[in-house]
Amino acid sequence: MTLEPNGGGLVPGKFLTASDLGGEAATAPRAEFKTVLLDQSGAPVVPNGSLGHRFTPEDEGSWNLDLGDVTPPLSLADLADTNESVEVLLPRFDLPPEAGSEHAGGSGVVVRGVPVRRVAGKLVTTVFDLLLAQYGVARAGLPGEWPSGYDDPTTPGTPAWQEEITSVPAEQAARLGREFADNAERSGGRSMILMGAGTNHWFHSDTIYRTFLALTTMTGCQGVNGGGWAHYVGQEKVRPLTGYSQYATAADWIRPPRQNIGTAFWYLATDQWRYDGLPADQLASPLARGVFQDRTTADCLVESVKRGWMPAHPTFSRNPLDLCDEAEAAGKEPAQHVVDSLTDGSLSYAVEDPDAPENFPRVIDIWRANVLGSSGKGNEYFLKHLLGTESAVRASETPEDARPRDIRWRDDAPIGKLDLLMTADFRMTSTTLFSDLVLPAATWYEKYDLSSTDMHPFIHSFSPAINPPWQTRTDFDIFGSLAERFSQLARTHLGVRRDIVAAPLQHDTADVMATPHGVPRDDLPLIPGQTMAKLIVVERDYPNLAEQWKALGPLTAKLGMTTKAVTYRPDVEIERLARLNGTVASGPFAGSVRLDSDKRACELILAFSGTSNGRLAVQGFRELEKRTGQRLAHLAEDHEGAHITFSDVQVQPRSVITSPEWSGSEHGGRRYTAFAINVEHLKPWHTLTGRQHFYLDHDWMEDLGENLPTFRPPLDMHRLFGDGRPGTTRRIGGPYAAQQTEVTVRYLTPHSKWSIHSEYQDNLFMLSLSRGGPTIWMSAEDARKVDVRDNDWIEAYNRNGVVVARAIVSHRMPEGTVFMYHAKDRTVDVPIAETSGQRGGIHNSLTRILLKPSHLIGGYAQLAWAFNYLGPTGNQRDEITTIRRRSQEVEY
């Protein structure tokens, strides 16, 4: 790592790369993405396996982690001739805010020393040395402020320091750390952190995750069966990934698909941004260089979209079909037309003006989701701005001086942006209740489908026990019917059109080298695929959409199928699928493979994935062997002839085949564990260094003070948005008790014991085994403060909305925190709230979307967008609520 001057001292800077070394190394292709380490003698070495080796033809065979004779020292102090050390400044975020800036979180700087050397004229140290400084591990002879021992609570990193924040006893934290490491050492890495949604929903979840990863990586547990980090949130592992992606995105007909980041889409579509105004610079490090100056986090989203880091649809202020027509009229390529129009200001991005009617989402078709009863954070904003129904939003819009700089403010907030909400479901959920159209859907027991998960290495089938009853249809038939009707209408209304898709800089492609050293530049022209999104023209044959949907398109054979930078050529598979499924008899696509039934679609998925087709798995590994120079294909060769068909999985679930689509190995009957192939076969991680990262050197990470895993407290909703202060009570008087009191507490929404998200939460058995409706768990202490007894009706409110529930008072809850199970629909036993006069809310009535800038970075190594991989999270755990006892006479 280089060290750079900042604020009168030195701070950790950028990874030293081959481009810094001068000479031959610097002129090698992609030298800016070839990171450098020091060998045992202290000499710089450009090792194999970093990002710079991944996509360059010259480096074929060297994208691997084989260091040969080089044994890099972890610390420069391990080198005999290191005799220099310097102080570095590291940000800390655990301090109380200073007087006069109570609105901002408290932060400061801690000064710690690291050993240094000079390489290519730059002052450098190692990531490990910086990590020890960050964690406060004192070593003899280093300058700086260090803890006096584990029992020193005054400086970050010690067990005693964490006790003041977490209330976990210092001795216990120390013992746990030792046991974790000791067990890892003695068992060869079988210490594991296993978690569900626990920490993922905090605003600063990424720093928490990185802390976990630092622990499991330092103890050598990653890639070890029984060790490492097993997190089970959002881990819907579609084992047959390649075939699934082909089918789900229609990649056989048109590439690329239009995929979006849900969090930001809803943030804008539901106008939550109008109430947010979260100043990005209040998240910044005291050592920040001003990246976030005078900007809100919403402005960061705008920048992210404009740079092509994250996708956003609609992308532009005009219809992309029209943009193509305009280009044609002007005799230009559509991409050039878009670039020219953006440059001269005649075209802008939709994220810059989400409240312009032309940028509203007009039709939403919801399939297998419950956004209004379960997943959508900021439920009341959905109701108000997207649907235009009654809502319990209590917040005021952001005052003028705190509004986003780069988003146009329209004084009249849109109410009811949506024209049509259509939902396919088999339950009456909050979402179907609010839908204009409800399409009754078949359940799992009424259709053919495939299922796979991260929890076990099998592919399952669904087979109908009965036919879909009454008017219900399978989702396959629903989409088929819609496609037929759409195609009919399209003959009149749309015809064949050209469309231009703005595709973000994509993970696992050369796009991730768009930002050398993680320095976003403002002095470059708009170049699609480098300084902005790629602009790709596709043809939309709308009148033939239904026919296309029922047939395999030509692109699969022509372009192959690329998953995580490995391209599969399913030539044999297409022929076999043609025999298995039959071919289209007539029409424009006669001779194509038939995909006109759910079972045939399942056959495609199984035939086109390495996990279910050994030939493709071996083919993929052979391609990866060329790239890495490492032997890999043996992991799948014993299954090269195996092809799991749909009838196979109907007989019984089938174990998957080891495939480069995933990083674990099932070879020899072994159970999957992530990164086994990386650890055991020296295949690089898909990161800048090709290694697991403790340090992120993007400019935004530096300004956030998060180069290294660090502690960041929950957002202070009191300071930021004026809610009550957690732990405080307030006398309110009121109609039900003369001296009525309310209490402000932290509000958590963990997974429910009695449902799977909102599924089953209305089931009578589940309701009879629990308390039969929405409840909020609270501590005996908090209950006492507000005169609430077990099973009393209470109301919880904050600026986002209101919840009516019954209290479960328990000594198993800590004082100051309540929780409400997530995904409680407003369908069962939800009375009218006194606070709003409207139907009491769902758990997400008290939450709202908040964007963290670090989640919006793209176009740089592992910090690049991929569907379901990287993007802004939905987070709601920093939220607080105020609770009071309400009238026990409830009305419905």
Binding site: E171, R175, S187, F765, S770, G773, D829
Partner: protein, 456 residues
């Protein structure tokens, strides 16, 4: 000696996560009908807690099970035939519906057919008894996960018996789950209570059943059962209870609750016992001697005399083999399994391996290594909570057998940690609890690996 076979169950409480899958699948299979809406043949209680029906363990109140007379004979706690006859039309010891819970449903139809209203429609609760709107104030599992609801802590019959005070404080909470079905007792007080001769214990496998044709609905079985595992069907007017899923058992399938158990904590199998000595064992003077008395009448299926007796009693050869392979016999041999409330003197045959986790939690919470054998042994010796609580549940208050069981479980953890981490087989750990390393490894296989074929 009269050798008889008994189908039995053992549940390993350390593995119960309280998911209630057993309850739901049982209810779906057996009591998904009108008249038994409130009935859960299988329920899972959070302990400390009041259970279902609430406070059922308070036999002073409910009068279930047997008591020993001064002359050393057993009589039903609720009185003999005459006493029963005298109150046959109004049984004061019968739990009311509110001791179970008032079953309800919701106005689900509103979600589909609501008239036009100002607010979104909602399904509000309706009593299944009266059809009226209601506020839900008790359920089949009201104190789930509470470890003693603050509102009902004083009503847990076990806590009231304990000399130590369980503290309702965040840091000191302890909790575990207790799944319950009918105990299929060797000395069933429900059968003895039935005035109509409708309740019977099947001769071949000891499963306790209600003859629906014979039952006259007197409900003496409900009061007679100290576990409150016989229920009254309000629609048919007859008693119903857990059948041990005999239609499944008869074709070699595990019970529904066992089959669907996520934690793989249930073991099923035959044991052979000496039917001649049941009354004698159930009548020993000291409550605390009941466990040993019951253990003593369970017969070694490998003993030639027992085998001969079994054959003489008409027990088929494959049943004898099944008793020899039975995981129940093995777990009883390891002396890690204990009956629920032996002091009721019904000789229950659903036993439990007490949970070590509450002890480990306390040890870990105090900053020590909860897996270390010596620390754990010391804790087991010292900790009266939760061990005292477990003793009130499983050994009529005698701490020694609970200690012994927990020590073996603790030894198993420590021994196996040595095996898997350091590749060391430390016989001393095994010997300290009166076992050999080989035995510990066998017990580990049965308890921890818990293969389907080996559990049933």
């Amino acid at each position: 000696m009269r050798v008889m076979a008994q189908m039995s169950m053992i549940m390993n409480l350390d593995k119960c996560i309280g998911c209630h899958t057993c309850s739901v699948t049982c209810k779906q299979a057996w009591t998904n009908r009108t008249g038994v809406e409130y009935v859960w043949f299988n329920n899972v209680e959070t302990r400390p807690g009041v259970g279902y029906p609430r406070g059922y363990e308070d036999q002073e109140k409910w009068g279930g099970g047997w008591v020993r007379t001064k002359r050393g004979r057993l009589k039903l706690r609720s009185g003999g035939r005459l006493a029963k006859l005298s109150r046959i039309f109004s049984n004061p010891k019968l739990p009311g519906i509110h001791d179970y819970y008032e079953p309800w449903t919701y106005d689900y139809d509103m979600l589909i057919n609501a008239p036009r209203t100002a607010h979104t429609p909602v399904a509000r609760p309706k009593s299944l008894l009266t059809g009226e709107d209601m506020k839900i104030s008790w359920s089949a599992n009201w104190d789930d996960n509470l470890g003693g609801s603050l509102e009902t802590m004083q009503d847990d019959p076990i806590l009231t018996k304990m000399s130590e005070e369980v503290q309702a404080e965040f840091e000191k909470a302890f909790m575990f789950y207790l799944p319950r079905i009918c105990e299929h007792c060797l000395n069933p007080s429900c059968v003895a209570s039935c005035p109509s001769g409708a309740m019977y214990k099947r001769e071949e496998d000891g499963i306790v059943l209600v003859d629906q044709d014979q039952c006259r609905g007197w409900r003496m079985c409900v009061s007679g059962c100290p576990y409150k595992k016989v229920y009254f069907n309000h629609r048919t007017g007859k008693a119903e209870k857990c059948t041990f899923c005999y239609p499944r058992i008869e074709v070699g399938l595990p019970t529904v609750c066992s089959e669907t158990c996520v934690g793989r904590l249930r073991y099923l199998g035959l044991v052979l016992y000496d039917a001649d000595r049941v009354s004698e064992a159930a009548s020993v003077e000291d409550d605390k001697a009941l466990l040993q008395a019951q253990r003593d009448i369970i017969l070694d299926p490998h003993d030639p005399a027992v085998i001969e007796g079994a054959r003489a009693g008409g027990i088929p050869e494959d049943w004898i083999e099944a008793a020899q392979r039975s995981p129940i016999w093995k777990l009883m041999q390891y002396e890690v399994a204990l009956p629920l409330h032996p002091e009721y003197r019904t000789m229950p045959m659903v036993w439990y391996i007490p949970p070590l986790s509450p002890v480990v939690d306390v040890v870990t919470g105090s900053g020590n290594d909860g897996e270390d054998a010596r620390t754990l042994f010391a804790a087991i010796d010292k900790l009266r909570i939760p061990i005292g609580y477990l003793a009130e549940l499983f050994t009529a208050g005698d701490v020694a057998p609970v200690d012994a069981s927990l020590r073996r479980l603790a030894a198993m953890r420590s021994y196996m940690r040595g095996v898997s981490i350091d590749d060391v087989r430390d016989e001393r750990i095994a010997n300290a609890v009166g076992m050999t390393g080989t035995e510990i490894e066998e017990m580990y296989r049965l308890l921890a690996i818990a293969k389907y074929e080996e559990r049933y």
